[in-house]
Symmetry: C2
Subunit: 334 residues, 2 copies
């Protein structure tokens, strides 16, 4: 590989001078400039993004931190992020933390050391230590489908409470009165609690009560948790006619369990998911679901981050619209 | 952000000297070294990966080029690549080209300009222009689930021909004699043709013939192509008792079409997929499939690339083992 050293040697000048010429900074004679440019051309030296980034203090690279690569949401978010990054001339470094605080901290430090221009932190709770670190480093950060406890960092999210409230209303409008929920982790304050609260209060709004036995919980939003917890729920509550699952992956697990238990969906039990991930179009029956605009959320987060990197005015948190997509997993009772 | 300029100012020395001290290159007095290190500590300056990379000519970053982010294979490969990269201290820049030659070339140029230490090129045919460019640049490249026409670059793949041959043998062993195939693109010399050829010759080996009407083709390996092409195949050949689909996404599309057409799987038609992607465990019935070790392939490709980057001996192309995973979509007839 041709380096700036080779160019300096060929042009019989210093590396600093070559760097000044390449970056058009002045402070050298026309003769020197010509010698350097001739050396650049004859050696086939390519502008070096790294060397340039040292001078303009920008790498045109953003880092994206995901908790878990095996979530179906990850690549829809990434799709949106990469679309915008590509249009704006940024590269994307991807890092997965498996929700382990140690690895999360390492990922952040690594991204900062690589001098990324900004970071999108997706889908996971942020620990205090990481927040403090990010604040100290002053690197622009946008939260995607999550948020920090405080308001120092902008985020892109749907309103989980309102979304779950709307799911409850939808099921009631379809004539269901015996309704259960397979929820996420009740310790997850960002997606777990608001979806439970919104759903329960949506039912209450329609004068329906839902007691504790009608809600089961998964440690995460996976297929396997959906499968197992739906089984528990239906064993305890065979009277249910509709169940809200806190993710499409869970709903897809529930479909498998329903099949194993000989329960027809939607004839005997209606299921509604959350996300509108690719999965929801692929299951049989296709899932009715609360749609988050996943690709759009990734795009928006990247847009906001690029604005912050380019210092184009104040960037504010953004609540994305949600809506229900009707497919074939919910039966109308009235 | 604290820069090397600030450190030099604080230590009352030049940037070059600070750089030499930080990178332990010698050529300065003990007193100078102490002054610099003191400034580094008092300012909280963090080693700058970019500055260092200019000196050691390594960025500890690899680039990964995927054709399509919406393929289920992408993130299993990426999972494996990132596991190994993380262990070996490399960051991963991800780039998707949507199989467009222009974008592919831009991605490669961008990665080279960012001075990645090496590139993994996944799942897509490589054009001559891109090959020439990569050869000229001398950046280490590993092909993942694809290969170049020539042998300049090592690859990691399963033997598509043998895998498809084994699928044919498997279906014959289960007693099927009326067998069809939904194939990939017959112009795709890497995955398309060998799977067709292997399957046809596997059937011939068992004295079964398969005529052209028993094979349909998709432009790619997507759910939608599987759905539509399986429909065409079964309309033309209602006598078939088993169908091989060239990907799990296609097989999952076929399941949806079978459901629409009122064909029971596996009671009336057996389906077998290819890949063992996450999808194959999620469908109802779960898919019997030809398993590629997807995560392991990503790991292996990254291992090989790191070896090349670190110049640890000759790296050779590697054929991964395949096997058939039996789930619930194939019925035994005898």
């Amino acid at each position: 590989m041709i380096t700036i050293h080779d160019v300096a040697k060929e042009a019989q000048t210093s590396i600093a001078t070559v760097s000044r010429v390449i970056n058009d900074l002045g402070g050298y004679s026309e003769a020197t400039k010509e010698k350097v440019l001739k050396a650049v051309e004859s050696l086939g030296y390519e502008s070096n993004a790294i060397a340039r980034s040292l001078i303009v203090n920008k790498t045109h690279t953003i880092g994206v931190v995901f908790p878990n690569i095996s979530s179906m949401l990850t690549y829809e978010f990434l799709n949106g992020i990469e679309n915008v990054a590509y249009q704006k001339g940024f590269s994307v470094i991807v890092s997965h933390t498996y929700s382990k605080p140690k690895r999360m901290m390492e990922s952040l430090k690594n991204l900062i050391e690589k001098r990324v221009d900004g970071i999108i932190f997706a889908s996971d709770a942020v620990e205090k230590e990481q927040l403090e670190y990010l604040k100290k480093k002053k690197t622009p950060v946008v939260f995607l489908s999550t948020k920090a406890d405080e308001e120092s960092f902008p985020y892109v999210k749907v309103d989980d409470y309102q979304a779950a409230f709307d799911v409850a209303t939808y099921l009631v409008d379809k004539g269901h009165t015996k309704i259960g929920m397979v929820a996420g982790n009740p310790l997850d304050l960002i997606s777990g609690v608001p979806r439970i609260k919104g759903f329960v209060e949506g039912l209450e709004q329609a004068d329906l009560s839902i007691d504790n036995s009608q809600i089961t919980y998964g440690a995460d939003y996976s297929f396997e948790n959906g499968r197992v917890q739906f089984g528990h729920l239906m064993t305890k509550n065979p009277q249910l006619t509709a169940v809200f699952l806190a993710s499409d992956e869970m709903a897809s697990g529930a479909l498998t369990m329903a099949h194993e238990m000989g329960i027809q969906v939607p004839e005997e039990v209606s299921l509604i998911g959350y996300d509108n991930s690719l999965l929801s179009r692929i299951t049989i029956p296709a899932l009715t679901t609360l749609a988050q605009p996943l690709v759009g959320m990734g795009e928006k987060a990247c847009d906001m981050l690029v604005q912050m990197v380019n210092k184009e005015g104040q960037v504010k948190s953004f609540i994305m619209d949600h809506h229900i997509i009707e497919r074939k997993s919910v039966k109308k009772l009235i």
